[in-house]
Symmetry: C2
Subunit: 150 residues, 2 copies
């Protein structure tokens, strides 16, 4: 039922969209971060939108948070566990205790990540201020270029 083709992406489309190389895609797969949604009869990888979005997310975590890929793997694992929980819930297979346990675990992961984000933001704010001050001084000296104290 629902024979709708789920709109699959080729390797080339994904890497051009995200500005990466095929090697990166395969490396992430090798580490278990992603799994191509399908293969062509000949073995070429095909990705669905969700996986493309996940790769974009991985890149953000890596580049802006500086997380190593192994940690990102833990994070994604937790998110997937929650997703699995959501689905088991749909099928009414959720033992309330187990359900609660998974939710608490995921909560811990979330709190940890958000704490690290906040740390980064604080450090970035301090850095920004430092450079903003320097910039203000430089601009002042460039403007009133007479002979003030340095």
């Amino acid at each position: 039922m629902d024979g709708q083709a789920p709109n699959l992406w080729t390797v080339e489309q994904v890497v051009k969209h995200l500005g990466i190389t095929p090697r990166t895609l395969r490396y992430y797969e090798e580490l278990g971060l992603i799994t191509p949604a399908a293969r062509t009869p000949g073995g070429h990888r095909l990705y669905d939108e969700a996986t493309v979005a996940e790769v974009a997310h991985i890149l953000r975590l890596k580049d802006t948070l500086g997380f190593p890929l192994r940690e990102i793997q833990q994070l994604l694992a937790a998110e997937r566990q929650l997703q699995a929980l959501r689905e088991s819930y749909h099928r009414q297979e959720a033992h309330p205790e187990a359900r609660r346990r998974v939710l608490m675990q995921f909560r811990d992961v979330l709190v940890d990540v958000m704490g690290r984000i906040d740390e980064k933001m604080a450090a970035l704010t301090a850095l920004r201020e430092r450079y903003a001050e320097k910039l203000a001084r430089v601009d002042q000296r460039l403007r009133g270029d007479g002979g003030e104290q340095p």
Copy 2:
């Protein structure tokens, strides 16, 4: 004149203060990022407060901005150039044109760095929001733990 000892730090003091290893300190020196203020008669490195602060700054740039050390080197070079300008200014050796040129160059560096900081902050804000939403949903499900829609 002014024979005040400038309060020097040993390698051990620096690394314990900053949570790094001696190897890191030597590596940064190898790259030209820092220079120990002095050596003991026997050759042991000694650092002044300014250098310790610079190492702390390097670590922040590396960890929170994710800058590679070679780029940090450029940044520090620019800052030092400005410092040199400040000193030459004191000694009235500043050709106004050269002075202006250095100031403009440093300004460009500053604007570039601040732009990158702002990019990171924007990305971090988006990430934070994403996880905050997830956290809110999890908390809601943990609280009203009855049988709502997932």
